[in-house]
Amino acid sequence: MSDLTTTIAGLRMTTPVVLASGAVGYGHEYEGLIDFAAVGAIVTKTITPAPRPGNAPPRICETAGGMLNSIGLENVGLAAFLESELPRAAGLGAPVVASVAGETDEGFGELTAAVGERDEVAAVELNISCPNVERRATPLWADATRVADIVVAARARTGKPILVKLSPNVTDAVPVALAAESAGADALVVANTMPGMRIDTERMAPALGNTTGGLSGAALLPINLALVWKVAGAVSIPIVGSGGVRAVDDALEYLLAGAVAVQVGTALFTEPDTPRRIADGLRRRMKEEGVADVAEYVGRAREYAT
């Protein structure tokens, strides 16, 4: 009764509530604050081959219904991740999904191989969609051919599930989603943050040190939910919804749209107990409705697709 177990291409999770990369660091920072028994998986901070200092501060800024961040992929680098952060993340009690970002296709491939061979890593998330470090005219996340090349390179280097985190900042997410799917991705995370900015009127300067940042939080939910809706109608691999999930109904909306799980990020800043509240809320709702398996909600609203 009330089974929340969710499996994504062999990644077995006790709940469909996943901690989003970036918000949760390497997981252990939140020990004692997040109830990891309610967490389906922890997606660790995106790792690059070498340590990155990140962008100049200020790096965060609140905005109505959410926040902006321009952290700039600050991370300890692959070696320190494998040496100290990963073992600590793995001790928290939820499966660890390692998020990686390479400079090149082969860079993604090498990172995937390095994290994928570790027993503590249950799956790999390819971060092709960080808005704070991209400098190309056509951003990586909007380039279906390059995304396919990256997924092929990663696929060749691990047998573990590969998730690809898409960007909402595209005219049409479907070609990129299809490219990732046909290149061998096991699941898609839909989606990352949306670029935005605020200006500090007192200093008369951009509020963020990097000028623009990624919008996250409640304001992002309708945007990314529409993307999930659209992408779910185009691909056959599982989708993890991400963007503005704060409460059980937000999570349920993503499931009803076709996602099999959700990621929670910004809501952890407001309330670290969010995963427990969502998991308990889902169980309560399932009990009330006599739903035995949470998967029964997945895509239920799609019968109204026009």
Binding site: G22, A23, V24, G25, Y26, E29, Y30, L33, K45, P53, G54, P57, P58, R59, I60, C61, E62, G65, G66, M67, N69, I71, E74, G217, A218, T266, L268, F269, T270, E271, P272
Partner: protein, 225 residues
């Protein structure tokens, strides 16, 4: 302490613990600056507010040196507990409290000599309406010139004041700890949102701080200078 000031706001707001009146009870002292503090100011006694903490580190004492506390504006909130613990220990300290004008001076919350310790409070106002006429940093230099004792500085206040206190401390080779403020998201060192540049690279105010050795901070060039 990381305080959820309003259900309308995504981010909690960080506050120093200004006092511990009894076991299980804390005081925070704040100035209404934005929607978070405005919402907090509207709360009534008995309201329930979600609080995470205490987070981060604290000032470190050196009993061999005279503590000189430098508080600028609402920075007094970050130093009050330290002053209280010095007073409770019966030790001496000098507290320098600065503000734009007499009406904004926050010397009131500090324990005075009447509370048993030997806490000397000196004030400075930019407009000269009370105490030393000038900035609290000007008062600090005058105080350091006058004292014959080895001093340890503790400072909390606006960025420009912190920068100046750090400069004075460096010039005179006086150990100095500063408590910093930054916009903060997670509060636990996970998101890397509240970093400040130090000689060791970026460090988080929430988990590595809020207290830093002033000599290890890296200050950017002042705009227009």
């Amino acid at each position: 302490m990381h305080v959820a000031c309003s259900p309308e706001l995504t981010l909690r707001r960080p506050f120093s613990v200004a006092g511990v009146p009894s076991a299980g009870e804390i005081e925070i002292l704040f100035e209404v600056r934005g929607p978070g503090t405005a919402s907090l100011a509207r709360r009534d006694g008995g309201d329930i507010v979600s609080v995470m903490g205490p987070l981060g580190n604290a000032f470190t004492a050196d009993p061999s040196r005279l503590p000189v506390l430098v508080a600028g504006g609402i920075g007094a909130a970050g130093l009050r507990l330290l002053a209280q613990s010095i007073a409770d220990g019966g030790e001496d300290a000098v507290v320098l409290v600065g503000a734009r004008d007499a009406g904004r001076l926050l010397d009131g919350p500090f324990p005075g000599t009447s509370d048993g310790g030997s806490i000397r409070i000196l004030t400075a106002t930019d407009d000269g309406s009370a105490g030393f006429a000038g900035t609290v940093c000007g008062l600090l230099e005058a105080t350091l010139d006058a004292t014959g004792r080895e001093v340890r500085l503790f400072a909390c206040g606006p960025d420009a004041m912190i920068r100046e206190v750090a400069r004075i401390a460096g010039e005179r080779d006086v150990p100095c700890e500063v408590s910093l403020e930054e916009r903060m998201a997670c509060g636990v060192g996970a998101c890397r949102g509240c970093v400040v540049p130090t000689v060791d690279g970026y460090r988080t105010v929430c988990a590595d701080g809020p207290v830093f050795d002033a000599a290890r901070l890296v200050f950017e060039e002042e705009p227009g200078v």
